[in-house]
Symmetry: C2
Subunit: 672 residues, 2 copies
């Protein structure tokens, strides 16, 4: 047991007040509490400011800066003020004492004249920062525990992504999405890792490297910057109603590759060859890591799907209870996965997808609205919070290591890694796809590979070593660059790539509100005949899901007695919900693949109208659509969505420019 | 500077692994993270279990145990399991070292062979518990930082209470409510404080007291147990539609006296006579405390009202932004108040009341629903969480001091303190009230003085000294007793006091959903003629509010050009919202005192129907009501609420018993 030198430096603001010790302690606690409130207030104010500016932007239809980019800018500004603007001179006395102690424990018990105090390990402090500790007290205060991101802020974002996946388009492009997300992320990770390793070797030669940087570190960097997060791009797609398939590909890929990147990075961290030299290549350790990747991923997947499926809710009479239960089940999926050693983020993603597919149909209409709105709000707040915090850390983080060579290398590697993901895979996929991914789509996907919340959360999780600190600083720059430049240039890129979109954002916004996304481009009429053209895998799955899973797990779909062979009669009767019988007549072919069934079919119809209006050159869309649903279904949908259609019909008579629409509330202008 | 003996005991689970130190640290962190997830999962599971049981109770119309009582029971059960069921033997090595150090600082910097580690003070540990620290690791893990209650769980509860105050009845009974809340709480605090001081003196005589217990401690105890929280009772009132005035009195009192108790207790803590003997009586210090009470209360009040009023929202086109902004403003009120040294809870309460009164009217209908549902959900989760945590702490809290004599004394004191609040004040108030508070109402108010979340949060906030620990344990018992016994006996007490209610809970539930509360008792017809009979103070305020404040702050109400004298014309035109002009024709006498205006007027009308149906002896209600609103207003309201009325009309033909109503969904029964 090595007994080492042990120095205690006491940071005590009220050092000389020994009388009334309790009161002093209380005052100190109160003071620190006030400080905490003020710090939190900074973030709330940041968010409020962001919201107000977003509103202004939306109102003025300014589209070059998305809310996340904006949140980052405000974060940077506040970071600058905190760093350079505020200097609180503090009266700190340091007592340095030495006593023999062993390695840093997680908990310290200190006995001061009969009273025991407990101390917990907060973290390691950079040796050259120790003298600044008192100066940086304020800065360290606004620095969160990185686990906050993983346990509180990421889950709602990921869940919301899963919950709002446009499932029909997602499942139709499932093969491609899975290829981009799994193969693509792994390719990107290794390409970036290898390039960075080359860069690091070069830096070592030139003498630019001050610490260790192993190959596993490079791979880890590759994994974390492979998680794309095109939230900015998708928001603009949403508003401009860009092609649904492109949207599905980008969204599906980004959602899934977050999950892949998390598991990949933890597998890389777990790569520990045996023996003394812990950074050589070893097949066994690699296989172990690979096995771990598969195990963790499939475990999280299974867990998420299981909770999603088994969130049976029969509390239809009490929307509050129902919503609360729904919320708690999603959160407990995350916690359960973490407690089991799986990845909560992955579990919560698949839980979201499953819940949207099955559980959602069991909810009362009131609860459906409530849950959607709740997760939407949580997602919005968490996302903007992360992005403003990102901006803040650029100046308030204590251990930045900006290395120009590494940064340049990283930018090149990120670019090449994305290219090595998109272009070769698209080529291969196009061999099998009937509906090809055109080259302008490929360029757009390349361009839309922004890095966001997940990359940030992964890189800030561990900033203990020199390598990790350098990675974190570089990652921050990559995120800033992609969000501001790529995010801001989306509209330009769309025009440049000749991808069609509607330029009237108010209409887009209207569609967005009813959760409708995207207008088909003229060439793409495949989605109107989903059932005829799509992959056989999808068709098999769809039939199984529609005929067996849905009736068992939800109150919708045909009763099992109709879909199962007659010999299974009694079993079918037990498993079918009584509501399914009631609904039988109206649910003959209800394509409830989407959260908003009615809304989506409206969209489908609306789209056709839009396309016809816009180009005047649409012929086959009507019948093709009618092939997907029986005609009385269509009638029902039409009467349902009448109001919507009328509204949209009126809107589309307008020329597609940015002129002020007639029904905008005049007082918004007046009372500005 | 006193250098004292300093002992460090190291709790290190992986003590002998010095190789691969980083990996071990990482593994340790992962282990601790998993443990955290599992702990949190316990609470989520508790909540889920509570929700499922509540649903069962509501479904079966079992009314003797409210959800909060249930949450406590589950909490107690889990606490027992954690305490006695789980024993994790751990391999802990203790290193005890001595070095000279001064008083316990908030932050420790420890230098272990060149690496600096930062430690933060977690808290004091009871001297006789030190040896059990390793055993109790698990128990301490499920123990939250008490500030969590004040900063995260209480604000949504308090805000929701303020936001959902039935404002018309509240303002009509404002004088009485203020008297009970302010005078009553102070009386109760001092009565309990004096009685407890007597009890403590007696205990000292008998030799039952092991530590210090000063008069200020007794007063502090008085303050914390004076905060009533009749959430259980009110839920039952809601369901059974008990008299609206009784409801308003109880609800208003309990909401406001929480605020009073918080400020009162912090004033008592701040009572610090100068000189050596810090526990004698001193007029100056008391005046200072009193001044502090007034200052903090009015400061928080002003802050809350100010933010409530100035949350102008003009984001009507974007419900998500609007809801997010609304949420952030409420939270920032809390934080701002805390940062300024005021009381966040009080600020958030008045912010809620003001926002419901003014800002709510500016929201788009979509946002109105969203905010209501959001705060309802947050309130529900926070409340049930606090109550299950309460149950849990009965067994998991480490420093319980159960002193039988103190406990008995406390129960007697709490009873007498409540009596000294209700009966004398009611007598005095009845001298001035036209609509007397009858003696059965007084008994009911006496009985409904439960203690809940606020009392718990205040008592767990500081459990450092012997006196505080004894208070905490006793408070816990008081809360348990009142919630289970008084809460569970509400229905019996109502029957016993002959306070009328509807015994068909499904109807109550229906009314609850549309936010309607209470049926007038036959004798009480005063509320139908609000404007004629109510207090002059109320009338002046009402007119001022309706004619000037509402038009300035909201889009509703008459335009200022109509209410201000002609000379103020230009000013009036600037201040009036353009919408007010548009709405002028329809808002002639819109009594928008309540969140759900239409709902409430329906209720008023529905009540009359109910009363007529039930007793068949109602004559004057129709005309009296018509006096309150113009007849075409009434017409509009009636067409609006037609569906409601029809439903209720059907229901009321049924005999008032617990028979299964015909339209209950049959499959709930079948698929149980």
């Amino acid at each position: 047991m090595a007994i080492r030198n042990f120095i205690i430096r006491v940071l005590d603001y009220n050092y000389y007040h020994h009388a009334m010790e309790n009161i002093v302690t209380e005052k100190k606690a109160e003071e620190s509490h006030r400080q905490d409130s003020a710090d939190l207030l900074i973030f709330i104010m940041l968010l409020t400011l962001t919201i107000l500016t977003i509103w202004l932007f939306k109102h003025r239809r300014f589209r070059f800066l998305h809310e996340t980019g904006l949140a980052m800018i405000y974060g940077v500004l506040v970071g600058v003020v905190l760093r350079y603007g505020i200097h609180v001179p503090r009266d700190i006395s340091n007592a340095t004492l030495s006593c023999p102690v062993n390695a840093s424990p997680a908990t310290l018990l200190i006995n001061v004249s009969g009273k025991f105090y407990e101390y917990t390990l907060k973290g390691e402090i950079n040796a050259n920062e120790v003298d600044d500790v008192q100066d940086n007290e304020m800065l360290r205060k606004v620095t969160f525990d990185p686990e906050v991101f993983f346990n509180i802020l990421l889950p709602p974002i990921i869940f919301h992504a899963g919950y709002s996946l446009k499932r029909r388009h997602f499942f139709r492009n499932m093969g491609s999405i899975l290829a981009y997300a799994f193969l693509g992320t792994v390719i990107s990770c290794f390409v970036i890792g290898l390039l960075m390793y080359g860069c690091v070797m070069l830096m070592k030669q030139v003498g630019q490297l001050d610490g260790d940087f192993f190959f596993t570190d490079c791979l880890f960097f590759g994994a974390i910057v492979s998680a794309t997060d095109p939230v900015t791009v998708l928001a603009i797609f949403n508003e401009l109603q860009v092609d649904v398939d492109l949207y599905a590909l980008l969204f599906g890929e980004s959602v899934l590759n977050d999950a892949v990147a998390v598991v990949l990075s933890s597998s890389i961290v777990a790569y520990q060859p045996q023996g003394d030299n812990s950074h050589t290549f070893e097949v066994m350790a690699m296989l172990k890591s690979f096995g771990m990747f598969l195990g963790v991923f499939s475990g999280s997947f299974a867990l998420g799907v299981a909770t999603g499926v088994f969130t049976f809710t029969k509390l239809r009479d009490f929307p509050l209870l129902e919503t609360a239960l729904f919320f708690l089940m999603s959160w407990s999926t995350f916690l359960l996965a973490e407690a089991c050693g799986f990845t909560g983020v992955v579990a919560v993603l698949f839980c979201g997808i499953t819940q949207a597919h099955y559980t959602f149909n069991n909810l009362s209409p009131d609860s459906q609205d409530r849950t959607k709105q709740l997760f939407e709000l949580l997602n919005f707040l968490a996302e903007n919070f992360i992005f403003s915090y990102m901006g803040l850390t650029l100046f308030t983080f204590q251990n930045h290591v900006f290395n120009p060579m590494f940064i340049v290398g990283a930018f090149v590697a990120v670019f090449l890694g994305r290219a090595a993901n998109i272009y070769p895979l698209s080529f291969l996929l196009n061999l099998g796809r009937r509906n090809k991914i055109r080259s302008n789509f490929q360029h757009m996907m390349m361009f839309a590979g922004l890095r966001g919340a997940m990359t940030f959360a992964l890189s800030i999780r561990d900033t203990a070593t020199y390598a990790r600190q350098m990675m974190f600083s570089t990652t921050l720059l990559v995120v800033f660059f992609t969000v501001w430049i790529c995010g801001g240039g989306t509209t330009q890129m769309l025009s440049c790539q000749r991808i069609r979109y509607l330029s009237n954002p108010l209409l887009g916004n209207m569609l967005h509100r009813t959760a409708l996304v995207g207008v088909d481009s003229d060439q793409d009429n495949s989605r109107r005949s989903t059932k005829h053209e799509s992959a056989w895998l999808f068709r098999i799955w769809y039939n199984f899901d529609h005929n067996y899973l849905k009736p068992i797990l939800t109150h919708s779909g045909p009763p099992l007695t109709a879909t199962l062979p007659p010999c299974c009669g009694p079993l079918a009767r037990i498993l079918t919900s009584p509501q399914a019988y009631e609904n039988e007549c109206q649910l003959k072919d209800d394509d409830s693949d989407l959260i908003l069934t009615d809304g989506d079919i409206n969209l489908t119809y609306g789209d056709i109208t839009v396309s016809t209006d816009a180009s005047g050159a649409h012929t086959s869309s009507g019948p093709a659509f009618a092939g997907g649903a029986t005609s009385d279904d269509l009638d029902r949908e039409l009467t349902y969505g009448d109001h919507e259609l009328v509204m949209r019909g009126t809107r589309l008579v307008l020329p597609m420019d940015d002129s002020e629409p007639p029904f905008t509330d005049p007082h918004h202008r007046l009372r500005m």
